[in-house]
Structure formats: C-alpha cells, structure tokens
C-alpha cells in the first residue's frame, strides 16, 4: 500500500498550479471567493484560456483532442482549480455531452460537435428533468413525433442549469409509448434558438438565477441530431449519470471551503476571542475535517480502482452521499459561524463601514440554502441510497 502521489503526479500538480496562477485573473478569483455568479464573457474567457493549454479537455482521450488524463490527474486538476479560486468548468458540454458523443455519437456528430464544445462556440445545457419527473426519469413526458426527416418536439424541461447562456440543449424525449416506460426514450441534440423554444428563469430560494424552465412548442429537430438509435436513450442516460457521478465527491471544493471556514473562524471574534477557540465550534470543524480526510482517501481509493478497472461501480453512490453531506456541513457551519451577520443579503448595501464580514464569507447563508440542492439533484441522496441498498443487500 502506498497512498502517496507519484513523482509524475506531483510534477503534474505543480504544472497545473503554476499555469492556473497565470490564467486566473484577480477579479475572477474575487468573484469566485465571494460566491458571486459569473457573467457569460467571464466563463468564456476562462474556458478559452484553459483550452489554449489543452486543459479544458485534459481528460478527453487523445483521439478526440484531449490529453488523456487519468482519473487521478483529473482529480488533481479539480483540486487545483479550487485552490486557485478558479470557477468550476461548466460541465454540460465538456463532461456530459462529450462522453456521450464519444460513446454513442456518429463520426459526423463527433466531428461536428466536439470541436465546437472546445472552442466555446456551443454552450450546451442539459434537458433531463421535467416537472413531475425529478428522480424518476422513466416517467418523462416531453414527446418527439417523427414527421419526415424531423422530430416535432413538445413538452417542458426544468432545472436547466445556466440555460440562459446556452445555445444548445441535449434532451431526453419520449419517442415510444410501448413496453416499459424507460424503453421509449431517445436522446436529441437541439438548438435553443430554434422556433418554438422558450426559456424562463427559475429564481432559487436564495434569490439567485442559475436554473431555468425550457419549453418546447412544436420544435423541429432533424432526425440526424438524434444520438444513438431511436428508443435507446435510457442506455445513454444511465451511462451519462454514471459519468456525471465520477466527479461528485466534491473533495476539491470541500477542502477549499473548509480552509475558508477556518479563516473565517479565526477572524470572527466571540466573547473576546477568535471563534475558532470556541470548543463547540472547533469540535464541529474537527469532525468535518476528519470526515473529509477519510472521504478524500475513499475518493482516491475509488479513483485508483477506476484507473485499474475502467468504469466506476455503484460504490460511487457513496461518494455522492458522503461528499454532499460534508459539503453541506461546511456550508452550515460557515453560516452558523457568522451568527446574525449571516442573515442580511450582502448584495444589499453591506459595503463600506456597514460591512459585517469579508466578502468571501458574507454570502454564507445564501450559499448554505443554495447548496441544499446538491443532495437533491443528479440523483437525490435517497436514490443513491436505493442503489447502494440493492448493491449491499443483493436485493
């Protein structure tokens, strides 16, 4: 057993760290630290800078223009992004659609779409969830009916993250009604600018806008823009859900957030001493730290497994559950550490002499509430528990 990073991996980390220091500009880092939403041009500029070094798709196989990073390298890259206060790479095109195209797309689809994902020409969003079909994808109702060489799509998607910036959407749609509910689903690539597509922003409980409803009213989609066979969408969806989960441990993000939390608790004064010296607060920090340390090793163990065995197994559901719990525990503690100062909307006038906390901490309550979502989306933790129960109990 040797759980250290290899020399190559350490060198890789240094290369990434140095590079990111050059790429991330100060205003971007400040916005990321404060948890503010980025504008589209900021995302675009950051993606372009990563792409210029080949890092945007570092984890893609070389035959598709990637660098063929293994899971450990990808994890290191992820950790360094957080350490550099860089934004998360918007995953819908790069990490979700791209693997689907590589596995199920036609050569024409690959040749057309993959370069446009890298160049930033296309911004993809994901059309999976529907009102009434959250964790239960088999019950989705958006319908695509073939008419000549097109599908006519009608229905509604929801929780579509960053659809406000997207010009493309990949969708699961119902193309058949026979057999089991999951058998009549197809995977379509659609144009957000097509006639009949409208989007409506959903305001989240913290007052932010990052998800949307997307409506389809007789939208015409060329049959050529279907990925895989008709009614084979369920297979693709499962493949994608698995891929989506590979990055779900949140180890990099939580490590960084825990450091922020400790910094906050060293700055905050309570009863004449730093909050970090309060025994109760310190004990909570310590428990999270121990849990995160364990979770980090679990993640590395599973990455190392994946490196040897290929696709991750159902154990990744563990990473999702534990990872989101740790992340939410940090959010919770950051909010609690601020006390009443967590309550004001920092966007509203808490500047100058009225400031209650450093900008990177002031958003703690909003972030806590916003992050309640992470145990709900991408397969709720209850769904993950069902998957694990099947696995551990052989039922």
């Amino acid at each position: 057993m040797d759980i250290r990073y290899s020399d190559d991996e350490l060198a890789f980390r240094t290369e990434i760290k140095t590079g990111l220091a050059e790429i991330v500009w100060p205003e971007l880092a400040a916005k990321v630290r404060a948890g503010s939403s980025l504008e589209k041009p900021e995302h675009d500029r950051f993606h372009a800078a990563l792409n210029a070094r080949g890092w945007l798709a570092g984890h893609w196989p070389t035959e598709h223009g990637g660098l063929g990073w293994d899971p450990v390298q990808r994890h290191i890259f992820d950790e360094e992004l957080y350490a550099a206060d860089a934004p998360r790479v918007v995953p819908f095109g790069l990490n979700m659609l791209a693997p689907v195209l590589m596995a199920f797309g036609s050569p024409e689809q690959q040749a057309y779409h993959l370069p446009r994902i890298l160049s930033g020409e296309d911004w993809w969003c994901q059309g999976y969830s529907e009102p009434g079909a959250g964790s239960d994808l088999a019950s989705l109702r958006t319908r695509a009916v073939q008419e000549g060489d097109s599908y006519i799509v009608n229905g509604q998607k929801t929780w579509t993250t960053l659809a406000q910036h997207a010009n493309k959407i990949f969708c699961l749609v119902r193309t058949g009604t026979e057999g089991k509910p999951q058998e009549g689903i197809s995977f379509l690539l659609m144009d957000m600018q097509a006639p009949g597509v409208t989007r409506r922003p959903i305001r989240t409980l913290d007052g932010g806008f990052e998800v949307n409803e997307v409506f389809f009213d007789n939208v015409r989609v060329p049959v050529a823009d279907r990925v895989g066979a008709e009614n084979a969408g369920w297979t693709i969806a499962k493949y994608l859900l698995n891929h989506e989960r590979t990055n779900i441990s949140l180890v990099g993000e939580s490590t960084h957030a825990l450091e922020q939390l400790k910094a906050q608790a060293r700055q905050t004064r309570r009863r004449g001493q730093p909050l970090i010296k309060n025994p109760h607060f310190a004990a909570r920090v310590i428990e999270i730290e121990a849990d995160l340390e364990a979770h980090r090793i679990t993640n590395l163990r599973m990455l190392s497994d994946a490196q040897r065995k290929g696709a991750p197994g159902p154990e990744v559901s563990m990473l999702k559950i534990t990872g989101t719990r740790i992340r939410q525990a940090i959010n919770d503690l950051a909010r609690r550490g601020l006390g009443p100062a967590a309550a004001p909307f920092p966007s509203e006038a808490l500047s100058g002499n009225a400031a209650l906390a450093a900008p990177e901490h002031a958003n703690a309550a909003a972030r806590y509430f916003n992050n309640r979502k992470i145990s709900i989306y991408g397969g709720s933790n209850e769904i993950q528990a069902n998957i694990l129960a099947k696995h551990v109990l052989d039922i």
């Binding site: 969830s129 009434g132 959250g134 964790s135 239960d136 088999a138 019950s139 929801t158 929780w159 959903i202 305001r203 989240t204 409980l205 913290d206 007052g207 004064r269 309570r270 009863r271 004449g272 309060n278 109760h280 607060f281 919770d332 909010r335 609690r336 601020l338 006390g339 009443p340 100062a341 967590a342 309550a343 004001p344 909307f345 509203e348 006038a349 808490l350 002499n353 009225a354 209650l356 309550a365 909003a366 806590y368 509430f369 916003n370 309640r372 979502k373 145990s375 709900i376 989306y377 709720s380 933790n381 209850e382 528990a385």
Partner: protein, 357 residues
C-alpha cells in the same frame, strides 16, 4: 393541569390567523418581505388594531396580557404566516420597560410608535456580558457611542432603546429617536429588514442605569417569542411535507408509500412535538426564576431540531423546494435563520452549562 388555551387567547389567536390569512398570503408575503422597508405599514396597523402590542403588556401598564402564553399566542400565528412586521423588537422593548416598571406610553401600547431594542454588536452578537457600546453623561443627558448590529426591525422603528455600558461598568438602557441615528438598513435572506446602527456621541435619554435584569427579561421574552414563531413555522413545514408526500407521485405511486420517507416524516413530527412542548414549558415559566433557563432550552431545541425540520422539509420536497416560488423554501429559511437571533443553539447550551457545574 390543563393544556388547552384560555378562551380569550384562543380567540385572539384565531383572529390573528384570520387577519394574516386575509392580508398576507404567500405571494403577497414575498412581495413585502424582500423589498424595502421589508414590512407593510398597513399590516402593522392592522395588527395593532387587533391589539397585538397590547397583548404583550400587562393590565397595570395599559395592556391586556404580558404573560408567557400571551407572547406565544401572538408569535405562533405570526410565524406560521412568515410575517415580517417588526413585532419582535417592539415586544422586547416592551418587556424591558415593563420589567423596569418604567412608563409605557399609550402610543407604544397601541403600536403607533414602533420600538426596537438594540443589544447585539458585531463582535458580541449574543448576550450582555461583553457589550462594548458606551454611554457617557453630557449635561443633563447622555451620549451613546458604538455600533449595534443586525437589529431586526430597526429599519422601520420610530424609537430605539439601546443597551450600553456606562461609567461605572453597569449596563443601562437608553432611548434614542430613530432619526438621530446613523442607520444602514437592509433586507434579510429570510425576509424582513434589519439595520446597522452607528452611534457617535449620539444624544440619548437614560431610562435606567441598572438594566441588567430587565434586559435579561427582555431577552427571555425574545427567546420565547422566537420559539413560538419557530413552532408556527415548523407546524406549517410538517403539514406541507406530509401533504406533499401524500400527493407527489414517483415510480407510479405516492411517495408516502416509501417506508424510508415515512420514517423521516415521523422524525419530523417527533422534532415538532419536542419544539411544541419545550415552548409550552418556557411560556409557563416566563416571569418565574426558571424563565430564562427554560427559554434557553426552547431556543436550543429550536436551533437544533428546527434546522433538521427545515432541511428535511426541503429534501423530501426535492427540487421544487429550492425555488423562490415555493412556500416551503421561505418557511425553511426563516426557521433556520431564527437560530442566529438572540443566541444560537451552541450559545444557549453554553449559558445553560454555566449553571450546571
């Protein structure tokens, strides 16, 4: 032993719920709670007409209540409706004056004046012991210097009562007109408004120079009010979640059929029952030597179990609960953020532990 409310309180609670149902449905609440001045002066007037401030004052000072169960009678429906009217600060100011046997003006009992009690500071959000705001004599009057932080309702108060340390180290209670204060108002993530109050040799009138005990009573009243508010919210959250489980279909049946979710719904009910009971306990003790201890216990459980109810309500609702349109989201936010007012669960635990050894 009798756990039913008196007919009078029952009537007040019902009138208040009706009034709030009429004037503060969920949509209107969102429109009021998140836009300056973060409350609705008309609704405040309605509450005052109904006599809510008077309910918080004993008959001797011109009201018709002032007992612990009067406080819960008022605040539980206010909680259920997520009302952001600045009643907490007014109630605490009243409790302080009543405890000092100081005059309570008719305008205050009627609610024509809106009072707030300013205690917490940036580095001293909870408790009285380490307050740094000072009061100094200036001629016949006093001058206050310091900062009071996140004072809920201060953005719309007409009068501010300030706790400040004076020459010989004691804590006094001082009154300042709101327009004399350098004030930065803002909205809160859970709705409603608050303000930072900056005092720089601000002229003030001394109500008492020995206000420790009265301020403790006011804090106890505040903890009780917040606990009752939390019970009102928690009941709504539990109801909404149970309704949702019964109606929401997934995998071809109502999700209430899933045993894992059933047991979690039961846990929510158990938490709620504890909150209800400890708040009854605190209300019954208000005004007795056990009052502060039981109020601290209530606020402790509100902080711990309230958060669990709120988080579970969101989780069991799923995605819909993290949207602005969802009532459950706003209920959950308020229930969680109550913890951070007047001493969170850890703080209450520390206070109670000091008396333990």
């Amino acid at each position: 032993m009798d756990f039913s409310p008196t007919p009078e309180r029952q009537m007040v609670a019902e009138s208040l719920s009706r009034l709030l149902a009429e004037h503060l449905d969920a949509e209107r609440r969102r429109a009021i709670a998140y836009v300056a001045p973060w409350h609705d002066p008309t609704l405040w007037a309605h509450l005052c007409e109904l006599g809510v401030p008077a309910l918080l004052v004993p008959a001797e000072q011109g009201g018709f209540g002032g007992a612990g169960f009067d406080i819960t009678t008022a605040f539980q429906p206010l909680g259920a409706a997520l009302c952001t009217e600045p009643m907490l600060g007014h109630a605490m100011a009243l409790a302080a004056l009543v405890a000092l046997d100081a005059p309570v003006s008719e305008d205050m009992v009627s609610g024509n004046s809106r009072y707030v009690l300013a205690i917490g500071e940036p580095d001293v959000p909870y408790g009285l012991d380490d307050l740094e705001t000072t009061a100094n004599r200036a001629g016949d009057g006093w001058q206050i210097t310091g900062r009071k932080s996140v004072v809920a309702g201060a953005q719309s108060a007409t009068h501010v009562l300030v706790a400040a340390r004076h020459g010989d180290g004691g804590i006094g209670l001082f009154e300042v007109g709101a327009d004399a204060i350098d004030l930065t108002a803002y909205g809160m993530v859970d709705g409603g408004g608050a303000a930072e109050l900056f005092f720089d040799a601000t002229a003030a009138h001394a109500i008492s120079l020995e206000a420790d005990a009265a301020l403790t009573t006011a804090l106890t009243a505040g903890l009780l009010a917040l606990s009752a508010e939390a019970v009102g919210i928690a009941e709504r959250l539990v109801d909404l979640t149970q309704d949702y489980l019964r109606t929401r279909q997934q995998f071809g049946r109502p999700i209430a059929k899933f045993q894992a979710l059933q047991h979690r719904a039961v846990e929510m009910s158990l938490h709620l029952e504890q909150l209800r009971s400890i708040t009854v306990r605190a209300a019954a003790s208000f005004g007795t030597p056990d009052g502060p201890r039981h109020a601290a216990m209530a606020k402790l459980l509100v902080g711990r179990r309230g958060r669990l109810i709120a988080e579970e309500a969101i989780q069991l609702h799923g995605g819909i609960a993290v949207t602005w349109e969802a009532e459950v989201a706003h209920l959950a936010k308020r229930l969680v953020m109550i913890d951070a007012q007047l001493g969170d669960a850890d703080w209450q635990s520390e206070m109670l532990a000091e008396a333990l050894a």
